[in-house]
């Protein structure tokens, strides 16, 4: 399969009040259709900015960004975007939130709404208001909302950053399941090394000031992905070494 995303010499400057921030500096990246890519890096290295450019939420930049072979000029339903906050409309019920996102031709398609709510395990909550949901449930709805629009690519900007560890692991599992089932390209931005390694087939490591790609790792977790065991530990070590020198590795693994 070909590349769904192609980024060539992408540079992005933010200028406000005479101050200039180079958020991205000469980024080159190709993402294969159907793959799962993690982007990791410290705060302020331009991860969100890059994702927003791919998603069409940010349209002023230098260089070339192609999604599906075309220049991105605006956001669209086929580029699903999951924000760190779930961004459900508080005045609409879960069902109506999803309905709001659908194209005119599908607005009355209750079956579609039900199908995606059941995919994220929230069939019983279609009439709940967002304030009645927990953070994890809200983020599930946000994922269902994006998927119901049948995107070609799903962009996730620290989607689980605000969740507790257990909810987080559950949602990661579900996301992987969905990825395998729906065959959607997924790009996740995170600063959680375990998350990056567990989800991504590739891990893009970025460094700040100016935002650059430092390295791209290919993760091999074998045919069955597990969070424990040698393959995972080895892959995680590799990423840790990007951020910490050998001597200051935060912990050692002796079992």
């Amino acid at each position: 399969m070909g590349n769904i995303v192609e980024i060539k010499h992408l540079t992005k400057n933010f200028t406000d009040k005479e101050k200039n921030v180079k958020a991205l500096d000469d980024i080159n990246l190709e993402i294969k259709e159907g793959s799962f890519v993690s982007i990791i890096g410290g705060s302020g290295c331009g991860k969100s900015t890059m994702l927003r450019i791919i998603g069409g939420l940010e349209t002023e930049y230098d260089g070339e960004v192609l999604v599906g072979g075309e220049n991105v000029t605006a956001p669209s339903r086929d580029k699903g975007f999951i924000f760190q906050d779930h961004r459900l409309l508080p005045w609409l019920t879960v069902k109506e939130n999803i309905r709001f996102s659908l194209p005119d031709s599908q607005k009355k398609n209750d079956e579609l709404i039900k199908e995606y709510l059941s995919l994220v395990g929230l069939s019983n909550f279609e009439n709940a208001y967002p304030k009645q949901l927990s953070g994890g449930m809200s983020q599930r709805v946000a994922i269902a909302r994006a998927l119901a629009n049948k995107p070609k690519i799903l962009l996730l900007d620290e989607p689980f950053g605000a969740l507790d560890a257990i909810t987080k692991v559950n949602l990661q599992e579900e996301l992987l399941k969905i990825w395998k089932k729906e065959n959607i390209t997924m790009i996740i931005v995170t600063h959680d090394i375990d998350e990056a390694v567990y989800l991504g087939q590739k891990v893009v490591v970025m460094t700040p000031r100016p935002g650059r790609i430092k390295d791209i790792h290919t993760v091999n977790l074998g045919t069955v992905r597990v969070r424990t065991g040698e393959l995972f530990t080895a892959a995680r070590d590799e990423i840790y070494k990007e951020f910490f020198k050998e001597s200051e590795l935060p912990f050692s693994y002796s079992i």
Binding site: G55, P75, R77, K79, D85, L92, Y129
Partner: protein, 254 residues
């Protein structure tokens, strides 16, 4: 937010204590002959006048006329303020086009419009509706605009991701997002409508609560004046209660 706790006897005792104290002191002074009846009559005199006004139907006629005027003026104001308010926020050019006029008209108090209103519409009901309209339109308009401007920008970004057309944007984001603020505007608007109706009726009217005030004064009947004032106060409170209830019904998501 208000708690759902049942209010006990102590609460209601405290709630009604001050009015009862005022009534008792008032009664005491007038019983002791310390009050001049032509300035401040005894409470029972006002009660007597109230009964009299209920019996001869004047109480309901007067209050009915005023309430009807308030409603007419208010709905007209709401319709205009809401429509213009939404247009101003959705179409920036329309905002620029109308801004200066709105800014200049806004500080002019409703009573300042009375002379012109009478010249334009005569001393009938139309001129009063106009005054009420002026009184109610600005708070509703300003709060509508404010409400829309304070909607979190992230929701507009969401609308872009899902390619929502302007009609959806207005129906699903702008109106519900601004609703709490719009309801505040409506409450202020209704309050202003009451102020305006009394002012307008005091100047030229043959019915209405404002007329009761001016009529009571020319007849040297402070009891009628006070009855009129109480009616304004009580109906104003009732309308505000109604609006608070409506707000709760409409905004059930938080």
């Amino acid at each position: 937010m208000e708690k759902k706790k049942k209010k006990g006897f102590g609460y209601w005792l405290l709630y009604f204590a001050l009015p009862v104290i005022i009534l008792a002191v008032w009664e005491g002074y007038s019983f002791a002959g310390k009050l001049k009846p032509y300035a401040l009559p005894a409470p029972e005199k006002i009660l007597k006048t109230t009964v009299e006004y209920i019996q001869n139907g004047q109480l309901f006629t007067n209050i009915g006329v005023s309430v009807l005027l308030v409603l007419e003026g208010f709905f007209l104001a709401f319709f205009v303020a809401f429509t213009v308010g939404i247009c101003v926020t959705v179409f920036p050019k329309f905002d620029t086009f109308t801004d200066l006029i709105i800014q200049i008209l806004k500080p002019i108090p409703p009573i300042a419009w009375i002379p012109l209103a009478i010249l334009w519409f005569g001393i009938g009901q139309d001129s009063k509706i106009f005054i009420i309209f002026i009184g109610a339109v600005f708070p509703i308009f300003l709060n509508t605009v404010d409400g829309v401007r304070n909607i979190d920008k992230k929701y507009f970004e969401l609308a872009k991701v899902y390619e929502a057309p302007k009609s959806q944007l207005i129906k699903k984001i702008i109106i519900p997002g601004a609703l709490p603020s719009i309801m505040t505007g409506v409450r202020l608007g209704v309050g202003n409508a009451w102020v305006s109706v009394v002012a307008a009726e005091m100047i030229g009217a043959t019915k209405g609560v404002g007329y009761m005030l001016s009529n009571g004064r020319s007849l040297s009947r402070p009891d009628i004046v006070i009855l009129g004032m109480l009616l304004v106060g009580i109906f104003g409170k009732l309308m505000d209660d109604l609006l608070r209830w409506l707000r709760k019904k409409l905004i059930k998501w938080n």
